[in-house]
């Protein structure tokens, strides 16, 4: 069996020092290449906490996080940052694009911070990605002048810049109207099919979750359901 892209082993996460709350209570999970997965659960169940740990933005209290079979426990901050930049992409509820920068510059940014500068190759790749999210005609526009859906599509293009194996998306459609949200979901699904990039998408909407090939349900810090979605 080939290595999982990402593996959580007995992961717990606790917050607080005096009053300790255990938010994640021993999570075991594997994400395989090319999977299109949704993560659902009530508010406060620990979805974002889990996503941050998977995204190497946070460290578990106990347990291990493995990327391509390698443990990340002993990596220092610098190594974690590099690994994150090269294997993972992020989309957030709020786009967090760099305002005052063009769509193209925003999409190039993950590659540029990794290499320290802009290159022509980066530009070509960023343009290809913008084409994929159907925003090539807006490439030189300051992102502030784009609509909410357009901004989120730029954010998706940006998440794909370093050819990540997995994109972690925390409520990427949470801030969009239904129609726009549908388009963004379709876009991610299409990229998943065309580029074979794995997606893990947190959503509150059951219908959207059901449409994914795999569905994980988190309740009170524990995985209570992990099954193929209806369409899969």
């Amino acid at each position: 069996m080939s290595e999982s892209i990402l593996r959580l082993e007995e992961v717990t996460r606790e917050f607080g020092e005096v009053v300790v709350t255990r938010v994640l209570k021993g999570i075991d999970l594997r994400i395989e290449p090319g999977e299109f997965t949704s993560l659902v659960g009530p508010s406060g169940s620990g979805k974002s906490t889990m996503l941050n740990i998977m995204g190497l933005l946070d460290r578990p209290t106990t347990g291990g996080v493995f990327v391509d079979g390698e443990s990340t426990t002993d990596l220092d901050d610098h190594a974690i940052t590099r690994l994150r930049g090269r294997t993972l992409g992020f989309v957030f509820q709020f786009h967090h694009l760099l305002t005052g920068f063009s769509a193209l510059e925003n999409v190039m940014m993950p590659a540029a911070v990794d290499r320290g500068k802009f290159t022509t190759a980066m530009r070509e790749r960023a343009e290809a990605l913008l084409e994929q999210v159907e925003l090539l005609e807006h490439e030189t526009k300051n992102v502030q002048h784009l609509s909410g859906g357009q901004m989120q599509r730029v954010a998706i293009a940006r998440a794909l810049t370093n050819e990540p194996k997995l994109v972690l998306a925390d409520e990427p459609t949470g801030n969009l109207d239904t129609h726009t949200a549908d388009r963004v979901m379709d876009l991610m699904r299409r990229i998943n099919e065309e580029l074979d990039t794995a997606f893990l998408i947190v959503t509150h909407e059951e219908a959207r979750a059901e449409s994914c090939e795999r569905l994980i349900r988190l309740v009170d810090g524990e995985i209570v359901e992990d099954r193929p979605g209806k369409d899969a």
Binding site: S48, N52, G55, L57, D58, D77, H78, T81, R82, R84, G85, R86, F90, F92, F94, H96, L97, L98, T99, G100, F101, M109, P110, A112, V113, D114, R115, G116, K117, F118, R158, N162
Partner: protein
């Protein structure tokens, strides 16, 4: 430092608009004040020293025993007293073997000119008018390199043959004489000597213009009853600020009292140093307030941009990258502010130069824009901006990316 860090820093600044404008203006105003003030003080001090040194040798050799009289009045810290020592009546102290001393001093590598002089009190008489004067017997060939007289003649020639004399404009006015007229000088011993005015000088100071009377060394020696000796040897060297050191060194070889101009003008120099020190103090306080301004605006920027900073970190931007992005912003504000500030400060100084004049419409003292001040101001401001950015930059770099994104 990577190109992308500069790119991000400059864009963040451009993006900041009114905030950026605010801190740029602050830095510009601060640097302008410093440049203006420094140019003013440097110009003032330079012209003061120049004025004084135009009438003084750098080093004087005097006979031993010619000590300064005790001070009757001790000046307060913010005062200075100009004293003039009247030679005591009777015999004038002299340096007999002055030729040997001149020879010794002539070996000094820094030397520009060495000139023996014989100075003493007398009066100028014409008709009913009697003016106290100082007879200044000089060696015309060497003296002009110690104190410029030839170039400051308003009429006549630098010429002493056949009982010739050169006097100041004010004395000439008071006596009502011109070039070619005869004047009579009466010594302390009541001996009368007749001279022909060969030239009239204006050194721009009323004291000398009124009382300095130049004659040849030989005439002065006989008038002042010196036996072949001189009353002093005057020395000029190539860098006037080395006078102290050169005088100290020469003291080992010369058996007379040596005094540098710094020693003679100690009070003035102390006043100038105090003035410079207070200028530096003002500059430091201005720099501190500019730094605080830059720092507080950058702190606000960090808070505003925390989401973007968090995402930059999530995308693989290191803490070092974030740190440098904000440090570069601070340094840029300092650098650009200092360029505009230098220009503004210089414009102010030149404007001051143009509008503030004395009763005759003459520039009081010329202010020359100095490249050194620019370079210093740029370095200081860039460093100030950099230091001001340290706290905000560390704050940005240390933000937890997950927190920053969640709380943006």
């Amino acid at each position: 430092m990577k190109p992308i860090e500069f790119f991000l820093a400059l864009r963040f600044l451009r993006e900041g608009r009114s905030q950026t404008l605010l801190i740029f203006s602050g830095a510009t105003a601060g640097v302008a004040v410093i440049v203006f003030l420094t140019s003013l003080i440097v110009g003032l001090q330079d012209s003061l020293v120049e004025q004084i040194m135009g009438l003084q040798p750098h080093i004087v050799v005097e006979p031993i025993g010619e000590s300064e009289p005790p001070r009757i009045y001790e000046p307060e810290a913010d005062e200075y007293v100009f004293t003039r020592t009247e030679p005591r009546p009777g015999r004038i102290d002299e340096i007999g073997e002055w030729a040997t001393v001149v020879e010794t001093i002539a070996a000094t590598p820094e030397l520009v000119a060495v000139s023996p002089v014989a100075f003493g009190p007398a009066s100028a008489v014409r008709g009913q008018i009697l003016e106290p004067i100082e007879i200044r017997g000089i060696d015309p060939a060497t003296y002009n390199d110690v104190i410029e007289i030839e170039g400051r003649l308003v009429s006549g020639e630098y010429e002493f043959e056949d009982q010739g004399t050169i006097i100041g404009v004010d004395l000439a006015d008071e006596l009502g004489v011109d070039v070619g007229d005869r004047v009579r000088f009466v010594t302390a011993e009541e001996e009368s000597h007749s001279f022909t005015v060969r030239g009239i000088f204006d050194v721009g100071a009323s004291g000398p213009n009124q009382s300095w009377v130049y004659v040849s060394l030989r005439e002065a020696q006989s008038m002042l009853d010196l036996s072949e000796g001189v009353t002093a040897i005057q020395v000029t060297i190539d860098d006037l600020f080395d006078a102290d050191d050169v005088a100290e060194r020469l003291d080992l070889y010369v058996d007379h009292e040596l005094r540098s101009w710094q020693e003679t003008n100690e009070d003035l120099l102390r006043a100038l140093r105090t003035q410079s020190a207070s200028t530096i103090l003002i500059a430091v306080f201005v720099a501190i307030s500019v730094a605080l301004g830059i720092a507080s605006v950058l702190v606000v920027t960090v808070v505003q941009k925390r989401g973007q900073v968090g995402v930059l970190r999530a995308m693989g931007g290191s803490m070092g990258t974030i740190l440098r992005v904000f440090l570069i912003q601070g340094a840029t504000v300092g650098l650009v502010g200092s360029i505009f500030g230098s220009v503004l400060g210089t414009a102010l100084a030149l404007g001051f130069n143009n509008f503030v004049r004395d009763e005759q419409g003459e520039v009081i003292f010329p202010i020359e824009p100095s490249p050194t001040i620019f370079v210093m101001a740029c370095l200081l401001a860039t460093l100030t901006g950099l230091l001001a950015a340290v706290v905000p930059a560390r704050r940005a770099a240390r933000m937890d990316p997950a927190d920053a994104i969640k709380n943006a």
